[in-house]
């Protein structure tokens, strides 16, 4: 503002000085012109005066010549004419000098007076005409008029002779005075011209100075422009001005081009800038906000606090034909002019990485919290059980991976894949829940959800399985984390107990040598959890589980988990129902593992609702596992066998523990795989009993291998 004012003042001063100088020069030229005109007339006068001063002499000579001719009776015509001419010129010139030359001097006045004295004398001479001579016998003699003429000539000649010196001096003086006058004027003209030249020099110097100043200013302005350009080119934020029509001005920062992948901003309306990149209602809010910025209703701080574009999610082309999401932060500042808001300065920055980082941090925080929860959970789990779980899960996930990699083309093949995946996932989830490792159980549950979603799809393709691969990787990474943590926990526990207690006996060192891990704590923990989760009260009695041979531990565990879950969800009734049936409030679940002949026998029994063959048949028909006709012709035994069919479950609601249609079929499959047998007996309203017979462990290990 100040710089501009000073600049304007300087310009006014220089323009004023320039005009004054030009005016001076004009006046000098005008005066010079007048002087030159004056000098010209002075020179003419001088020429006249110079000629004039010769006239008295010439006149005297001519009068003398005329007198002599009259005396010698010679021809006088020529001399008379010359005299008349001289008198005429004398007369004219002196009058001209006296009047036109505007010369006022005593000498000229005197000369004029003297000349006036000549005139009466010369007048009769000039008036004479005719022949001054008469011819007589004695020769030519003066006629009467001739005598008079002669007398006049003589008188004039005498006057002229008498006055010639004086008149000549007077006229010379006039000439000198004129000369002085002219040279004076010439000197003035010279001075004037010098002044003019000086003024011209000054003007030229001033013009040069002005030009230099202008160049300096232009350079400064250019530098300022360059600096502005550099700033706009380098700054990472997008900057632009919005006018009262919400249109972008002609200057904007380079970053804007990268942020919006376009460069035609000048004159572009703000609405067009965001159109198709944000949802319509967001755009409408944005435009309302911008409109509010032009009003004076809200303070700057309030406007800042309600800025709806502080973190704007926009969708941009990613250059590969798709869309990508970016987060932009808009800030608005009013630019005030004398008449209120002149522009709105808008700055935009791409805060995508910040937003994503914040999200990652949040996720990391959640993960950390989950890990702490898990660690607390793991502290209550026997390290041996945990290790065994992790090993089994690792194997299970490898199996899942193998299933995913299996080549498949037809829809049936894909669906078979899904079935396989489902069973393995379900089994892992069951174990994780049993150990209360909820972080793992939830992850597997999500994978199961994905499989369920895929099952609903009409058509399946290989691509549908890709998201599962990613989730599976995540689960594997999580398991690695769990394993690491387990190692650390074990190390921690060992260091805390070393020296104090005798080292815990590991499974291999248990009496019997060939027995695997004791499943009792795992099952009790699972029972407690299931009771809690499903609000069922039951007591689990376990016997012989410490003697399960190592090759059967995993199988027995899988089977028990599944059967225990089924009991908790389907079998054991709620307290009120039990009371109504005159049963004790607390249900009983009994598990017995014992040697039987060459092999082993596992009996699982609960005193719950039992299984109704009709209910099984209805469910199987509903799930299209069998047709209604098949159901009608089915006997009780075959109906009970439905429970071992793949995809069968009577629980409608999907929970973490049951209801996904996988369960007893997994158990049956595993048992058959080991060369064993499974059977079920039930009495509706009284009990359900599963009996699993397994061959000798040696045979099983060879079968597994």
């Amino acid at each position: 503002m100040n710089v501009a004012g000073a600049d304007r003042n300087r310009r006014l001063i220089t323009a004023g000085a320039g005009t004054a100088l030009a005016l001076v020069m004009g006046l000098a030229l005008l005066a010079g012109f007048r002087l030159a005109t004056q000098i010209r007339s002075s020179i003419t006068a001088l020429q006249t005066a110079s000629e004039l001063q010769t006239y008295p002499g010439v006149l005297t000579q001519q009068l003398t010549a005329l007198r002599q001719r009259l005396e010698t009776r010679e021809y006088t015509g020529q001399a008379h004419a010359e005299l008349a001419g001289t008198v005429g010129r004398f007369n004219g010139d002196i009058r001209q000098l006296a009047t036109r030359g505007k010369l006022q001097s005593a000498q000229l006045q005197e000369a004029v007076q003297m000349w006036q004295a000549y005139r009466p004398v010369l007048a009769p001479i000039l008036a004479f005409s005719g022949e001054p001579y008469v011819d007589t016998d004695a020769g030519s003699s003066l006629s009467e008029s001739g005598k008079l003429y002669y007398g006049n000539v003589r008188q004039a000649q005498l006057l002229a002779k008498q006055n010639v010196g004086r008149l000549h001096r007077l006229l010379s003086a006039v000439t000198r005075s004129l000369e002085a006058q002219t040279s004076g004027a010439a000197a003035r003209l010279r001075a004037l011209l010098s002044g003019g030249v000086l003024a011209a020099f000054v003007l030229a110097a001033a013009a040069a100075y002005l030009q230099l100043t202008r160049i300096r200013h232009e350079r400064a302005a250019r530098e300022a422009q360059e600096q502005t350009r550099d700033i706009l080119k380098t700054v990472r934020e997008g900057f632009f001005l919005l006018d009262a029509d919400y249109k972008i001005g002609s200057v904007w920062s380079e970053a804007l081009t990268h942020i919006f992948d376009r460069s035609d901003f000048a004159g572009l309306s703000f609405e067009k800038l965001l159109e198709n990149r944000v949802p319509p209602n967001t755009l409408a809010t944005a435009m309302k906000y911008i409109k509010l910025l032009w009003g004076d209703r809200a303070h700057e701080n309030l406007m800042k606090s309600i800025n709806p574009l502080g973190q704007l999610e926009i969708s941009m082309d990613n250059g590969r034909g798709g869309k990508e999401t970016r987060y932009l932060q808009f800030d608005f500042h009013r630019v005030l002019g004398p008449k209120g808001v002149k522009h709105v300065l808008c700055s935009v920055s791409d805060i995508t990485s910040n937003v994503l980082l914040a999200k990652e941090l949040q996720e990391a925080q959640e993960n950390a919290n989950a890990q702490v929860d898990m660690m607390v959970g793991m502290m209550h789990v026997d390290p041996l059980q945990l290790g065994s779980f992790l090993d089994t899960t690792q194997t299970g996930l490898q199996l899942i991976n193998a299933i995913l990699k299996e080549p498949a083309r037809t829809d049936a093949e894909f669906r078979k894949k899904l079935g396989g995946l489902f069973r393995e996932l379900h089994s892992i989830k069951g174990e994780a829940s049993a150990l209360n490792l909820m972080s793992i159980a939830q992850r597997v549950h999500r994978l199961e959800d994905m499989v369920s979603e895929l099952k609903k799809k009409a058509e399946l393709s290989g691509n549908d399985f890709l998201p599962m691969v990613l989730k599976l990787d995540e689960l594997l990474a999580h398991l690695r984390g769990v394993r690491e943590m387990a190692t650390r926990l074990t190390a921690l526990k060992d260091s805390a107990t070393s020296g104090a207690d005798a080292p815990r006996s590991s499974a291999a060192e248990r009496p019997g040598g060939r027995s695997g891990e004791d499943l009792t704590p795992t099952m009790q923990a699972l029972a407690e959890k299931l009771g809690r989760d499903h609000r069922k009260a039951f007591r689990l009695t376990l016997s012989g589980l410490a003697n399960v041979p190592a090759p059967y531990v995993a199988t027995v565990k899988d089977c028990l988990i599944q059967m225990l879950r089924n009991s908790a969800v389907h079998g054991i009734e709620p307290c009120e129902a039990r009371r109504a049936l005159a049963k004790s409030d607390v249900g009983a679940v009994r598990v017995d593992f014992r040697r039987s002949g060459d092999g082993y026998e596992l009996v699982f029994e609960d005193d719950g609702a039992g299984i109704s063959p009709q209910a099984l048949k209805d469910a199987a028909v509903r799930k299209s596992i069998i047709t209604a006709e098949e159901a009608a012709s089915m006997d009780t035994r075959s109906a009970m066998a439905l429970i071992f069919r793949p995809g069968f479950s009577t629980q409608e609601e999907v929970t973490m523990d049951a209801g996904r249609g996988v369960g007893m079929d997994v158990v049956a499959r595993t048992v058959y795989g080991l060369g064993g047998k499974i059977g079920v007996s039930t009495n509706p309203g009284r009990f359900t009993r599963f009996k699993i017979v397994l061959p000798a462990a040696e045979a099983a290990s060879s079968a597994v291998a």
Partner: protein
């Protein structure tokens, strides 16, 4: 700009305030927490319709306005109040924290926006800004 009228007795400027909120507790909280001597609470209302009635009765200079209310919500009420008296100054006090709602309220004619929950200091600052 100052709105209001000169009181006969002391010659002190007095601004009439109407409090609109469907929560009785919130109405009392605003009334008690505001610390301006020149503000005189002339009425309270629990919804938009009551607010309009009280507005006709008391002709307030300032209004604190809740947005989520039964019968007539705050946004609609703001439009009506501004139509009745363009010079009225309205402070929106709402738990709706999204910026779009704030912009909408401002567009309808509100002059300030305060998010619930608020501290006494925030309330007084918002009122002071409204009075300036």
């Amino acid at each position: 700009m100052s709105v209001g009228q000169v009181n006969g007795a002391g010659g002190r400027r007095s601004l009439k305030l109407l409090i609109v909120d469907d929560s009785n507790i919130m109405r009392r909280r605003i009334e008690r927490s505001q610390q301006f001597e020149e503000l005189e609470v002339v009425g309270t209302a629990g919804n938009g319709i009551e607010a309009l009635e009280m507005f006709h009765k008391t002709d307030p200079d300032m209004v604190t306005m809740d947005l989520t209310m039964p019968q007539m919500d705050g946004i609609e009420c703001i439009s009506k109040l501004v139509q009745l008296k363009p010079a009225v100054r309205i402070l929106v006090i709402s738990a709706l924290a999204d910026k779009a709602t704030a912009v909408e309220a401002m567009e309808r004619g509100a002059n300030g926006f305060l998010n619930k929950p608020f501290t006494d200091r925030q309330l007084n600052e918002a009122i002071a800004e409204l009075m300036s």
